[in-house]
Amino acid sequence: MPEKLRPFHIAVLMHMTQSGIVIFTLPRNLADYFGTNGWLFLVPCIVVSTFNIYLISLVFRLGQGRSVFEIMEQTIPRPVLYPFYGGLAAVWLVFGCMIGKKYVLIFQMLSFPTTNPMVFKLAVDILAFLMITKGIYSISKAATLFFWLSAWMYLLMLWFFPAFRWERLTPFILKGGHNQFKGAMEIYSAFLGYELSILLFPYVNKNKKAMAGVYAGNLYLAVLYISLAIICFGFFSLGQLKKLLYPLLDLLAYIQFPFIERLENLLYGLFLFPVLVTVVMYWWAAQESVRRMLPRIKLSVLSFLLIAISYSISFIPKTLDAVGVWITNLGYAVTGIAFGFPVLLLLLLLIQRKGGEVRA
């Protein structure tokens, strides 16, 4: 019996999965789509994501901690499910891959403008491959380590207090925005990642605390997002924030020491940790779905194949904007899965309950 994930590790793992590359553009999107005091829009996002986690915890409780694949296969014949599994795997695989590519492209823009980004992508993918082959328990341990290596950076927010002015937040609530549906989806994608907890059921102890970890990870993320967004709205003026493509990069670049300029290069490197965990977790989820279809294939071979496929796909979008479009569109699909999947499972569980075929 392999070791089970503990609630603290689940919290950290989920938090690290959720925080990724979106954090760099989040304050700008809030300002651009929602205008003055756009950070307030994060509050409904928190409510919605918490509700989504509640749905997942219902699945956990009603299904008595069984794997979601088992729940489905109990009622629906396997061959019918295969296209669904394939779809899940494809969306998760490419989503993870594009997040990695975006990180690499920004890294390249900052530090190595003429080097082929796919070289860096390869290095990141190999790291991810090594992590995935070790299994979810090791991934969570690595995520915890990465968490401690990168979490201290949030203390850097203190640096911006002297220039922070509440006046710049203006008293106007969400005025001057545009395209708010698209904006809402893009901003909500900053919270995505918690939905993968639905695949963790077989790896956790069957008690209430397991899901508490997911809630905690999500709340911690929410606190960070809100504080970062408020700092951006009070540090930058609204017009300025709308013009900055990556406000977080500019914040990092503002931190200056007499002996070193362009500290953001160094700090940006540390963001590899949360991004890597995000990528690994989406690929791991894709692998879990594919494994259900091809149970006999060796795990490391499967990981290798999946990563090779995703690496080839990541050649397609060449520019940061193109990658952004991929992430936005896949974000819709991933958000759909985040809500649709638990709802589907709940329906199945209710049907199974009525039919009295619940296994203890």
């Binding site: 900052l110 070289v119 203006t170 106007f172 005025k175 003026s237 017009g239 670049a253 300029e261 362009r262």
Partner: protein
């Protein structure tokens, strides 16, 4: 044990295969310090036919060279085009990642700096902390250290790309920047350049800089030498040091489009020099002195504010204060540039002498 050895061997194989790729991959982005021209100060001025004269100061690292810095100068159509031209003038690769100071000539400042600030901010290698300075005269001089010191005294606000762009993009405040004069062999601080949006409009002389600072923001440190008239044919000067100031603003609405704004500066400091004939250890004398100092400050501020209203520059951020008392609709329907000159602005100062040194 055998399995562990096997996976270790596999890992080393992967790394070995990857190594040449990573080593050669970054060849095109290789930077050798001795071959780099790290621009520390760059100056921009308007040349004939709307072209720009760009001068960059590059420190020479070569220990055998007698020159400590190299000046590169060219006339081009854009800032970044000039950098390409510089590369033809020198054997160094000119890079802007260590830029600390951006100097703009007065002629260019009068024509508007917006586009150039945008260009500087677009470059990912340029940080928000680059200092912006206006040069009254030839912008190609090297004046780094002087600016560093003046800004620390707070009588001249330290302006970086961050502050300039922040205030330029805010609809309720106009940017300011220190202005420096070229006086023969030395460069001296000339005063504070006040902008309307991105165009230079007027200047506050250096000796009045502190009065501007008191009413623009809170100060944590500052000094002022105040002339309180004459006594027995000798000028009475009080040197007010270690200034602490907290600014408060009250907005009164007088009618549609008419406002009265009270700026209250609450100033604390120590008296380090007093050339009058009274003993400072008497409470009454000190209270009188506090009132006298406040009167001088208020008179200066009144004059300054009326000049700013004449030139229609809202450098004190009155617009932000008025905006924050209005509704979004009211503020947007108001043409702030038309309203601003009519606003009644009253500057009040309350002075507290914390101590008067160790001598009566």
């Amino acid at each position: 044990m055998h399995r562990q050895n096997y996976s270790l061997a596999r890992l080393s194989l992967i790394l070995l295969l990857l190594l040449p790729l990573l080593l050669t991959g970054c060849k095109s982005d290789e930077r050798i310090l001795e071959k780099l021209g790290l621009v520390q100060t760059a100056s921009y001025d308007l040349a004939e036919n709307n072209r720009i004269k760009v001068t960059s100061c590059v420190p020479v690292i070569d220990p055998d060279s007698s020159a400590r810095r190299e000046l590169l100068s060219t006339v081009s159509d854009s800032i970044k085009e000039a950098r390409i031209m510089f590369s033809r003038q020198t054997d160094l690769t000119v890079v802007s990642g260590q830029l600390r100071d951006a100097l703009f000539g007065l002629k260019l400042a009068k024509a508007g700096l917006g586009d150039y600030i945008d260009t500087l901010l677009r470059d990912p290698s340029i940080a928000l902390g680059v200092k912006v300075t206006i040069i009254n005269g030839d912008a190609g001089r090297y004046i780094n250290h002087l600016l560093e010191k003046e800004a620390a005294g707070n009588s001249i606000p330290n302006t970086t790309l961050y502050e300039f762009s922040r205030d330029y993009n805010d609809d309720g405040i106009d940017p300011v920047a220190p202005i420096v004069k070229d006086s023969g062999d030395k460069a001296v601080i000339d005063g504070i350049a006040l902008f309307q949006e991105d165009r230079y409009r007027m200047k506050i002389p250096a000796q009045d800089g502190i009065f501007f600072g008191l009413f623009r923001d809170d100060l944590r440190q500052g000094e002022a030498a105040l002339h309180l008239g004459e006594e027995d044919g000798r000028p009475v000067v009080v040197m007010f040091s270690s200034l602490l100031n907290s600014r408060k603003v009250k907005v009164h609405r007088l009618g549609p489009g008419r406002f009265k704004v009270e700026l209250l500066a609450n100033i604390q400091g120590s008296v380090l020099e007093y050339t009058g004939h009274h003993y400072l250890n008497k409470a009454g004398v000190r209270q009188q002195l506090e009132r006298d100092i406040a009167d001088v400050i208020m008179a200066k501020a009144k004059e300054m504010v009326s000049q700013m209203q004449q030139h229609n520059v809202d450098s004190l951020g009155i617009g932000i204060q008025i905006r924050n008392t209005l509704s979004y609709k009211e503020w947007n329907q108001m043409n702030w540039r038309e309203v601003y000159p009519q606003v009644e602005i009253e500057c009040k100062a309350k002075v507290t002498i914390k101590d008067y040194g160790k001598y009566m």
